[in-house]
């Protein structure tokens, strides 16, 4: 009888390990001046260095070092005062030099941690994920397998190589073994990768797009029988390309391993590939012999020894950690959980914050961005932020607050700004959208309304206050919607002897 997830957890304890590769968003590659722009024509962003042509030499991108330090600091790592590059030697066609310049025993960042929270039935639970190292390396080229099943490596007749990606800076972020996650292991893994992604984005060092491969996760998991005190053999699952997949892959791998163990079989230490469709993993092609990477110091590069003062400078510029900031903003703005989540999912938190910083009321700012502007953006299939900027939204909110615009007029202003008619002021000007605040003008309209609906006016005089609505509507119509309805009501009721 096969074990399900709960059955596995009952008998075994999982230990996790996560390796995240993140492509930096530097302008140029790790060791040469070729562009890193995504999506270029094949082999248009290559040079002797990233093609590994004989005689070429690498030179380190200074921004990549700075990014590595930022990442290390954000993950509470120590930054090594002296660190070196090493060559990892193995043959593979997508790797132009047949070695990868990486870091081995002297990585730039070591010993950090990241606390993550997951939602459980009883509330939230916090886990500390310890970081072993962050190191710098270079990405490989991309191969296209032709013939056989389209795009698949197996059964292909030949392969076509594009080295545009070869040499793009990669940071490898490796956790220590994570014990004690128990049944939450898949969720913890997902929460870690999510938090890491948010941090990397807030640092501005990477596009962190899992679907484009700029953030990739390899998930290691092993099971040990409860109470055995022994660590199990781990498998490493590659090709985990979405947050959801991280959770699924670990979940699936735990079930697979649990059932193997249950049947008395051994777990093989191997690389497995995640299958997006089924949520299962398949084994990678096993190698005849264990790879021996023959690491040694890269003799073409010199050590990286960042000055302590530079590290401190970088530390001082680090942004607030995204999860902390979210909590702070939620409290400051008194946003309900649901709306907060909506704002985060719509990726409008920064925009709303910028709008608030310009003096807008937080609730109003949120409502405009998530409401009217997002609605139009969805219709047009564009980003909300491409329609208006925080300054324009703040201006509109300010005009409403000062009474220069009504909510209704404000909507027209926003419509005008989106239509490209200019700034809010210009739209007001062009469209003549002014609140009629001149009481005498309003009184004239009120008098007119009363004389055209004498019966209604009488009912109001008799105390039927709701009947005033029809008169107010007539005044609003007469003034083209530019009157402040509240003021009209006040004047009207006073006039008919029903003032407060």
């Amino acid at each position: 009888m096969a074990l399900n997830y709960d059955g596995v957890i009952e008998k075994y304890e999982p230990t996790l390990g996560l390796e995240v590769h993140v492509e930096l968003n530097t302008n140029t590659k790790m060791f040469c001046g070729c562009s890193t722009e995504f999506g270029a024509e094949p082999n248009t962003q290559t040079c002797p260095v990233c093609l590994g042509l004989p005689g070429s030499l690498p030179v380190v991108n200074e921004v990549a070092i700075e990014s590595a330090i930022k990442i290390g600091l954000a993950l509470n790592c120590s930054i090594a005062p002296f660190s070196r590059f090493a060559r990892k030697n193995y043959f593979y066609p997508d790797m132009p030099k047949d070695f990868q310049i990486s870091q081995y025993d002297e990585p730039i960042c070591v010993n950090g941690f990241l606390d993550v929270e997951i939602d459980i039935d009883e509330g939230t639970k916090s886990f500390r994920v310890e970081i072993e190292r962050v190191h710098m390396e270079e990405d490989t080229g991309k191969s296209l397998h032709v013939g056989g099943a389209t795009g698949r490596i197996h059964g292909a007749e030949y392969s076509l190589l594009d080295y545009n990606r070869a040499g793009i800076p990669l940071m490898e972020i490796v956790t220590k073994m994570i014990p004690g996650t128990e049944k939450y292991a898949p969720q913890v893994a997902r929460a870690y990768v999510t938090e890491l992604r948010d941090i990397l984005r807030s640092l501005g060092v990477s596009d962190v797009k899992m679907e484009q491969g700029s953030l990739r996760c390899d998930a290691n998991v092993s099971l040990s029988p409860r109470g055995s005190g022994k660590l199990g053999t781990r498998s490493e699952t590659k090709n985990v390309n979405s947050l959801r997949s991280v959770e699924r892959a670990i979940h699936g791998e735990m079930i697979r391993q649990g059932n193997l163990l249950e049947n008395g079989e051994r777990i093989i230490q191997e690389t497995r590939h995640f299958l997006e469709e089924s949520g299962e993993t398949r084994p990678g092609r096993s190698k005849e012999t264990a790879e021996d990477y023959r690491y040694f110091q890269e003799p073409d590069l010199v050590p990286v020894a960042p000055e302590a003062s530079w590290i401190e400078e970088i530390r001082a510029t680090l942004p607030e950690r995204p999860s902390v900031r979210r909590k702070r903003l939620q409290a400051e703005w008194a946003v309900p959980d649901k709306e907060m989540t909506a704002m985060i999912n719509a990726e409008l938190l920064d925009t709303v914050e910028a709008t608030v910083k310009l003096g807008a009321d937080p609730t109003k700012a949120r409502t405009w961005w998530l409401g009217e502007i997002s609605r139009v953006a969805n219709e047009k299939e564009v980003e909300a932020t491409s329609l208006m900027n925080p300054a324009q939204v703040a201006e509109v909110i300010g005009l409403v607050a000062s009474g220069e615009l009504t909510d209704k007029l404000a909507r027209q202003v926003v419509e005008g700004v989106i239509a490209g008619e200019g700034s809010p002021r210009e739209v007001i000007e062009k469209r003549g959208l002014k609140v009629v605040s001149d009481d005498s003008a309003l009184m004239a309209a009120i008098e007119a309304a009363i004389s055209s609906q004498p019966d209604t006016a009488q009912r109001v005089r008799d105390g039927n206050i709701p009947a005033a609505g029809a008169l107010i509507g007539a005044v609003m119509k007469a003034t083209g919607g530019q009157a402040d309805a509240a003021r009209v009501r006040e004047l009207l009721l006073n006039h008919l002897g029903q003032g407060a």
Binding site: P48, P54, G55, S56, V60, F91, D98, R294, P299, D300
Partner: protein, 499 residues
């Protein structure tokens, strides 16, 4: 009258005074190559078109009165390990047959910018691994002093082209002696500058932490002039020295060593060195004494481990540097018949494309770096490297420059040591310590060994970044010996191509 027997400096003067045009000078050299290179086989490729084009440009600029670099219009032979855009670059290997780099090495860019006329690419031991040029996949080069003998290696093509008057200047590269030992056995001058003085960008790597390009010539001054063209900081090479180039031309012209202390390295001489080599070396020392230098003996006890350490470090780095020759992106591809996978095609290509010595060193390096052996071999070799640097430091505290014979013997017969790699490696015993420490080293001729009438090389070593000192001592010694002999050593070289 022909200009080919003149020094590069003399050619430069003749060009400047318009006694000869750069085009005519290049043609004279091509004629010479045509008449002697069948015997010498110094060149793997001649770029007549490119050379004459460059010569024509220089002549036009000179006619227009433009300011030119001192060596503008002077021909040069380029070791085939340097990438030159559009020109076949083989490194003496089958695996790179037909490869035309899409870029220029920094050295090549500087040569071109200086108006130097690159005649062609010279023969070498495959990927610079060897001391005889017998390991070239394209056949050996012959020593112009005796065509049955080796011209040294790996840069035998460059040194032979100078000794055969096929070119007045050449570029070499020196990982364990590949500039200096060929210079020694061909009676020419070869300089390995301080590591980092000349950019390695475009030099096809053998052992990255040891490789260094340098000038080869027939006189110390010519070498110095070429040195100043190719040296200097390069942003494309992380290990390039970012400091002004020492004034080596001025140093070569000083002709004064009064008060200088010359350290004779006890361990680089005596037993294992040919009698005539030691004799000529000692006579040269006397000339330096006469010129006012003081001779001191220094001891470098760890040099005895240098050879062993070198034959671990260089193959280790080479095993990694040469991995890229896998038939995927350039060069030879063998066995791609549609049925084989990339891995197998790589292995077959590397089997067919690499020669014996290269395979031997790749396997040795793979072994030295592999897990379980790293500490014992590669790790230990790196510690020896520290010891050698300490020995030099102590020696340079006692002497301004250090000296020794460049090679233990004169040129040996082609084929003589081909089947004994360890005996072959001993050729580099006196040159290797320089590379291990990254300091400067020069070889210049100090006479013919009486027993075989073949040239003997005198090695001068100077501290890192003080390359001018070896030029100063070398220039002085050369002048003293020429005046003692009444002519240059090269003028005694046998005539070639008397057809």
């Amino acid at each position: 009258m022909t200009f080919i027997y003149k020094s590069a400096a003399e050619m430069a003067n003749a060009l400047a005074s318009k006694e000869i045009s750069a085009v005519d000078l290049a043609n004279e050299h091509f004629d010479r190559i045509e008449s002697v290179d069948t015997d010498v086989h110094a060149f793997l490729y001649l770029d007549k078109e490119g050379a004459l084009e460059q010569a024509k440009n220089v002549d036009a600029k000179r006619a227009a009165g433009e300011k030119l670099s001192p060596l503008a219009g002077v021909p040069l032979a380029l070791k085939d390990v340097m990438a030159q855009r559009g020109i076949p670059t083989t490194c003496g290997s089958k695996i790179l047959e037909g490869w035309r780099p899409p870029y220029d090495a920094t050295v090549v860019t500087r040569l071109k910018d200086a108006g130097i006329v690159i005649l062609g690419k010279t023969n070498m031991d495959e990927f610079a691994m060897g001391s005889s040029t017998e390991n070239s996949a394209y056949g050996p080069t012959h020593n112009p002093w005796d065509l049955t003998r080796i011209p040294g290696g790996s840069g035998g093509g460059s040194s032979a082209s100078l000794a055969a008057f096929e070119a007045p200047l050449a570029i070499g590269t020196d990982t364990g002696g590949s500039i200096r030992q060929p210079a020694a056995v061909t009676g020419t001058v070869g300089v390995k500058p301080t590591y980092g003085a000349v950019s390695r960008y475009g030099l096809v790597a053998f052992s990255s932490s040891l490789d260094q390009a340098g000038p080869c010539a027939r006189t110390v001054l010519d070498a110095a002039m070429l040195h100043e063209v190719i040296a200097g900081h390069d942003k494309k090479d992380s290990s390039s020295i970012n400091a002004p180039v020492p004034q080596v031309v001025a140093a070569a012209k000083k002709l004064d060593v009064k008060g200088m202390k010359i350290g004779v390295v006890k361990e680089l001489g005596g037993e294992g060195f040919q009698k005539g080599v030691s004799e000529r070396f000692n006579e040269a020392l006397e000339e330096l004494v006469k010129a006012g230098a003081e001779i001191v003996e220094v001891s470098c006890p760890n040099f005895e481990y240098a050879l062993a350490a070198y034959y671990l470090i260089a193959p280790s780095e080479a095993s990694s540097n040469l991995a890229r020759f896998d038939s995927m992106r350039y060069g030879l591809r063998v066995g791609d018949d549609g049925s084989r996978g990339a891995e197998e095609v790589m292995s077959l290509t590397r089997q067919a494309g690499f020669g014996k010595e290269v395979k031997r060193r790749i396997i040795l390096g793979t072994y030295a770096l592999s897990s379980g052996y790293y500490d014992a071999y590669y790790g230990s070799a790196q510690r020896v490297r520290t010891l050698i640097m300490r020995d030099y430091e102590a020696a340079f505290a006692k002497a301004d420059v250090l000296v020794s014979p460049t090679a233990p013997t004169t040129a040996f017969k082609i084929g003589e040591k081909a089947n004994d790699p360890v005996a072959m490696y001993l050729n580099d015993i006196a040159t290797i310590p320089v590379n291990m420490a990254g300091i400067g080293g020069m070889s210049l001729p100090c006479g013919l060994a009486p027993e075989d009438n073949l040239p003997v090389g005198f090695q001068i070593m100077s501290p890192a970044m003080k390359d001018d000192l070896m030029y100063q001592v070398g220039g002085t010694l050369e002048a003293a010996l020429n005046s003692k002999w009444g002519s240059t050593l090269m003028s005694q070289a046998p005539a070639l191509g008397a057809k």
